[in-house]
Amino acid sequence: ILGGKSASRGSFPWQALTSIHGRGGGALLGDRWILTAAHTIFPKGLGGNNVSLDQLAEKANIFLGHTDVEELHKLGNHPVRKIFIHPDYNPEDYYNFDGDIALLELKHPVTLGPTVLPICLPDTTNTTFYMDGHMGYVSGFGVEKNFISNNLKYVGLPAIAREKCQRWLDSKKRHLPIVFSENMFCAGFLTIKRDTCQGDSGSVFTVLDTESGRWVATGIVSWGIGCAEGYGFYTKVLNYVDWIKGIAKED
């Protein structure tokens, strides 16, 4: 997290620290599901992911319940029963992060409390969270000032209108076949150094639903061009709510 602040315990109780192919983030859904980015499980560019999902589940480490990495580790790992990658995600397509979403089912449900609480999913009829300028907050254990963070940080970023995202992307991508699909949105600043960065992937972009008073996950940290050099791009959770509920079978 660049340009952010240290998170207090209990402010982002859904935040998970993942360690599958390096550091990543995730968010607790219910009491046994971790929402994360698919590329934290099947990174792009590794060329021929021959490892099975079962094997990845075996070696995945998920940590919950603290803002300090060392303390997180001390609290113990939450083993994974099964991994679900969205079928639209293609690890071979380096520039296309469409479908960058995954679910991890924990073997054992976690006991909720002040430091471990799930994030809510957005109401599928409400699209206001993605309107230009709607503020959201992202937390993560990713890189800060070139160093990977040992504490949970957070930063407030506004969602940006699609056309602005596209315009900016077009100016930056040169001839790279970078895809900005409808299943993504972008957020952040062009000039202010506030952004997410490596190690934050999989963490959730959250907004406060003032009507219900609940924090809702509207995005998943997905990709960007550098860090704090413009907008960051996030998986649009709203488009995947049905897929999530179909797997997690939660009312």
């Binding site: 109780p13 859904w14 909720l112 002040p114 609480l117 219900s212 609940r214 924090w215």
Partner: protein, 440 residues
């Protein structure tokens, strides 16, 4: 002298009959019929020389050592003693005839050919039972009780309770093994209401089928020899039921009615060598044996269709009020029936009713329950309520709500009678310490 063969009938004729009998003739006949008969003799034809007192010719008849007469003459003659149609009957089974003719049958020098006689005899059954026919000095005694005559003989019998002795005439009381098997009847001392004989050893047994109880009712008069100071020293009437003595009675006060509670009763009547008491008579009846009236242990027990009296083969069905279980010891019963047995006892003892216990309520994951009413126990009608560990979980219940009651079936159920407990589901998006921007 010619003995007449022992036949049932025959004829006797004067010598040469129907020709005139000879002079100077003495003929004797002994008529002998079988025992049990008497001789009846009649003259079919009688024609002898008449004379005064039958001095000349005559027929003399004797039987039972008695002379039955001396006869002579002709029918219609002025002198003599013509037998006519007279029947001569002996008392015994013998009759003796003697014929005597003198040296001539002349009347004024004329020989009159008297033809003699023709007599018939027959054996007539002797009714030995008729006291008038009792032979004198007969060594055979009369029947003590009943006499039964038949052709050629007789036999004796005795009244009920008596046995014909070896002399076939005397009767002795026989009451040593009298057996009664009907459901009701009468029995009494011998000769009742006449004084009972001495030296009795009577045993009357009543044997009925299992499950019946014999009731003895003494009738009046009741008299058994007694002593004022000593209890029944002379004669005793003992009553036993299944070998157990119920009582020993004597005196003039009737024991009244006795319920023996047994299907087997023995009545012993022992008398000594003297006394003039009239004895006793019992009318016995029977009814199905009764069992004790069933009584519940507690106020939660229900005896279906309770009856005032329970007898052999009756049964009761016991259940409990709602919220209570039938218990036999520590064992729960689904139902209970007890049958009144032949010995007057119930085949099972009364069960108890214990309040239903639902056991500990199911634990609610990420939640807890608490008892609503007091005392806080798991008995029937206790109420608990579930709650979740808020604010991290929220409770999701069925339509029946979060209150559960211990049901009569022993399960915790909600208001819709469902057993499924609520669930505690995570509350999302509500951090305890949400971020709050201060400076603007």
């Amino acid at each position: 002298s010619s003995p007449v063969p022992r036949r049932l009938f025959g004829e006797i004729k004067s010598p040469g009959y129907p020709k005139p009998y000879p002079n100077d003739n003495i003929s004797v006949w002994d008529i002998h019929v079988p025992k049990g008969y008497v001789v009846k003799l009649t003259f079919r034809h009688f024609d002898l020389e008449p004379s005064e007192s039958c001095f000349y010719d005559y027929v003399k008849i004797k039987a039972d050592k008695k002379n039955l007469g001396r006869y002579c003459g002709q029918l219609g003659s002025t002198t003599g003693n013509h037998p006519g149609r007279k029947e001569f009957v002996s008392k015994g089974n013998r009759m003796h005839l003697a014929f005597h003719s003198d040296f001539s049958n002349e009347d004024n020098g004329t020989v009159i050919p008297y033809r003699g006689f023709l007599a018939y005899y027959q054996a007539v059954d002797l009714d030995e039972c008729d006291p008038n026919n009792a032979a004198e000095n007969d060594e055979r005694p009369q029947c003590q009780h009943f006499c039964h005559n038949y052709m050629g003989g007789y036999f004796c019998s005795c009244r009920t309770g008596y046995q014909l002795q070896s002399d076939h005439h005397s009767c002795k009381v026989e009451c040593s093994s009298e057996l009664f098997t009907e459901t009701s009847g009468y029995l009494s001392s011998p000769e009742y209401p006449q004084p009972y004989p001495e030296d009795l050893r009577c045993n009357y047994s009543i044997r009925l089928q299992r499950g019946l109880s014999i009731i003895l009712r003494f009738l009046e008069p009741f008299e058994i020899d007694e002593h004022q100071q000593v209890h029944c020293p002379y004669d005793q009437l003992k009553i036993q039921a299944r070998g157990r003595e119920i009582g020993e009675f004597c005196g003039r006060e009737s024991p009244g009615s006795i319920e023996t509670n047994s299907n087997e009763v023995d009545i012993l009547f022992l008398t000594d060598e003297s006394g003039f008491s009239r004895g006793w008579k019992i009318h016995y009846t029977s009814e199905k044996i009764r069992c004790p009236q069933p009584v519940p242990w507690d106020r939660f027990t229900i005896i279906r269709d309770l009856q005032p009296v329970y007898q052999f083969q009756d049964y009761i069905v016991v259940s409990c009020k709602t919220g209570y279980n039938l218990m036999e010891g520590n064992r729960k019963l689904l139902s209970f029936t007890a049958v009144c047995q032949a010995d007057g006892t119930w085949h099972q003892s009364m069960p108890r009713c214990e309040t239903v216990n639902c056991g500990n309520p199911a634990d609610l994951k990420n939640g807890a329950f608490s008892y609503v009413n007091k005392p806080a126990n798991n008995n029937y009608q206790s109420v608990i309520t579930y709650r979740c560990n808020e604010p991290y979980y929220h409770i999701v219940t069925g339509a029946g709500g979060d209150r559960f009651t211990c049901s009569p079936e022993g399960t915790w159920v909600d208001q819709d009678n469902q057993v499924r407990i609520p669930a505690c589901l995570p509350v999302c998006g509500k951090p305890d310490n949400p971020i709050a921007e201060v400076q603007r």
